[in-house]
């Protein structure tokens, strides 16, 4: 029974709990037992506490027995170790947050808690979400469930691996330049980055505030949509959240059957040099299947997309250098021993931050420094406008853009970690979505000859989140890729 319980998706679990087929205590115990068994090989989780989870699950079961009918009561979800959950550690994959206990709930956590969800484990992340492989985490690299010699992607590699390996039916993650979509593609799960301003960032450890967005990872589009419906919407604690109503897209997502009347844009820039031929073949096959479902495929141009990585690697480090100034050893987290204050700051940050974070903070400090601000930062902000305009024009011709999520399938552990620039180039298809503040998701679209998953990228205009979920659901309902399981 317990192996079957781990197979339940997010909404399936809700259904099984409502019907009394299982209990939250039983379900979470099964997930934790599976975690116990697989974690030595995977390292997808940074924290789990069987006693605390059992208490929360039992409380949910008791509430249900007393007549509580909240649909998500007792449903387990894993949380990226970047989101504050009151009373739990929140490391952001960094040694500098050692010893920190979250004193409050992030808004997305408070909403899931109010819905009755149980937080079953915390998932590994690149340090402060800076990376595409989880190799920069202070808690070690997570392994890809499809091939443990390979990375799960990043930064939300722990969430992706946990969902793929059935350690949790769904997970929360965050996406600043592709950190939900790229690991979703690498691990064969569904990952959704909502429109900027759709989901509150309050309590999400800040990396680059104009780009960060929290979103779900799950094994189906329905499950991702169900989590999204709970966490999205206006939040007085985050002034960038939109007052537009979120609406309820779950019925449309569930019913999605075909793509008749849908125009999908295919950017030729996304099929250029550097795209692995196998990933290209799988992406094109998925686009053809969309055509078979009734979609009209049109060519669109995103002429400035090639500048996205350069633009991103100025703006994101600049914002990070400001956001990470708070980690100084004074108020929380790690503090290095020192005789005087300046020395304490410098040693705390030298010992507390890993190499990638130092690299980006120094880069960000440089591009914002007097004399270079206009040449780098301001110029990149202007290029960001050009990238936004590209999408605005493209969306005049189509309802959504489709293409690859990543230029290659999952690479080997260590393959790119010595060359930061090579790692950055892997973000080519994802960063522009963040720069433009629009929505995007990755849905499984097949496997390479070597058995590694690939993802189809579906990108929509700002606040058309329901549209891309529905399009992706129509594709997913016609395919079986999301049902394949890693043999671990």
């Amino acid at each position: 029974m317990s192996a079957d319980l781990c197979e339940l998706g997010f909404l399936e679990a809700a259904d099984a709990l409502a019907k009394g087929e299982t209990t939250s205590a039983e379900l979470t115990a099964a997930l934790l037992a599976r975690s116990e068994q697989l974690e030595p090989a995977l390292n997808a989780l940074t924290w789990r506490d069987a006693e605390a989870v059992k208490a929360a699950a039992t409380a949910a079961d008791e509430a249900r027995a007393a007549g509580d009918e909240r649909p998500l009561l007792g449903v387990p979800i894993a949380i990226k170790d970047l989101l504050n959950v009151q009373g739990q550690p929140c490391t952001a994959g960094s040694n500098i947050l050692k010893g920190y206990t979250a004193p409050y709930d992030a808004t997305v956590i408070a909403r899931l808690r109010a819905a009755g969800c149980v937080f079953v484990s915390r998932t590994n992340t690149d340090e402060f979400a800076m990376g595409g492989s989880t190799e920069t985490s202070a808690y070690g690299t997570t392994r890809n469930p499809w091939d443990p010699e390979r990375v799960p992607g990043g930064s939300s590699g722990g969430s992706a691996a946990a969902v793929a390996a059935r350690l949790a039916p769904a997970a929360l993650a965050s996406d600043t330049g592709g950190s939900i979509r790229q690991p979703a593609a690498f691990c064969g799960v569904t990952g959704f980055k909502p429109t900027y301003g759709r989901v509150s960032r309050y309590g999400c450890t800040a990396f680059a505030s104009s780009l960060d967005q929290v979103g779900p990872m799950a094994r189906t589009v329905e499950d991702a949509a169900a989590v999204y419906q709970v966490i999205a919407g206006l939040d007085p604690h985050d002034s960038t959240t939109s007052p537009r109503p979120v609406g309820d897209c779950l019925a449309d997502v569930r019913a999605a059957e075909d793509l008749k009347g849908v125009r999908l844009g295919l950017p030729k820039e996304y099929f250029a040099e550097g795209l692995d031929p196998e990933v290209e073949r799988l992406t094109r096959a998925a686009v053809e299947q969309c055509r078979g479902l009734g979609a009209e495929i049109v060519d669109v141009d995103l002429p400035n997309s090639k500048y996205g990585i350069a633009c991103y690697y100025i703006l994101a480090p600049a914002e990070a250098s400001a956001n990470l100034a708070r980690y100084d050893g004074v108020r929380y987290g790690f503090r290095a021993a020192a005789e005087e204050l300046q020395e304490m700051y410098e040693k705390t940050r030298a010992q507390g931050f890993g190499a990638e974070v130092k690299r980006r903070v120094i880069l960000g400090t440089y591009v914002l420094s007097s004399g270079f601000h206009d040449a780098y930062y301001l110029r990149a902000q202007k290029v960001r406008t050009l990238i936004r305009r590209d999408f605005d024009r493209a969306f005049e011709q189509c309802d959504a853009i489709v293409g690859p999520v990543t230029p290659t399938a999952a690479f080997k552990v260590g393959e790119k970690s010595a060359d930061p620039l090579q790692m950055y180039l892997g973000d080519i298809f994802t960063v522009n979505v963040n720069l433009a503040g629009i929505c995007g998701l990755s849905v499984p679209c097949g496997f390479t000859a070597g058995g590694l998953p690939a993802g189809l990228h579906v990108v929509g205009p700002a606040f058309e989140d329901a549209r891309i979920l529905t399009i992706a659901a129509a594709y997913q309902h016609a395919t079986e890729w999301h049902r394949k399981q890693p043999k671990i």
Binding site: S239, L341, E346, T365, L386
Partner: protein, 101 residues
């Protein structure tokens, strides 16, 4: 007056900038970072090929605007909660190394 990119001004003094960012670097780290950051700056320098004359800057891509609320006192975290996370606390305060001689 916007500063122009020059062909050779893109090399940063890593030690100086790390000092601004309050990060102590070992000699080995500084040498490694210098090479990596030179590569990254050369790469991001490709933006100078673009004509951005007259283009407005995007700071936040969204519809964010000033969000006003009533200026009313609200409960924050309690002193005990805050101090529980402090690396060092004394007399109900966060303690730091001596600042004034």
């Amino acid at each position: 007056m916007a500063m122009k990119f020059s062909e050779n001004a893109d090399r940063m003094d890593v030690r100086y900038v790390a000092g601004l960012a309050r990060i102590a670097l070992s000699d080995e780290e500084a040498a490694q970072l210098q090479g990596q950051l030179d590569d990254i700056l050369a790469f991001v320098g490709e933006l100078k090929a673009l004509d951005v004359e007259g283009v407005e800057a995007t700071d936040v891509a969204g519809e964010a605007q000033n969000a006003m609320r009533e200026d009313e006192p609200r409960a924050g975290l309690s002193r005990e909660t805050v101090l529980a996370n402090a690396p060092l606390a004394r007399h109900g305060q966060i303690a730091v190394p001596k600042v004034i001689e």
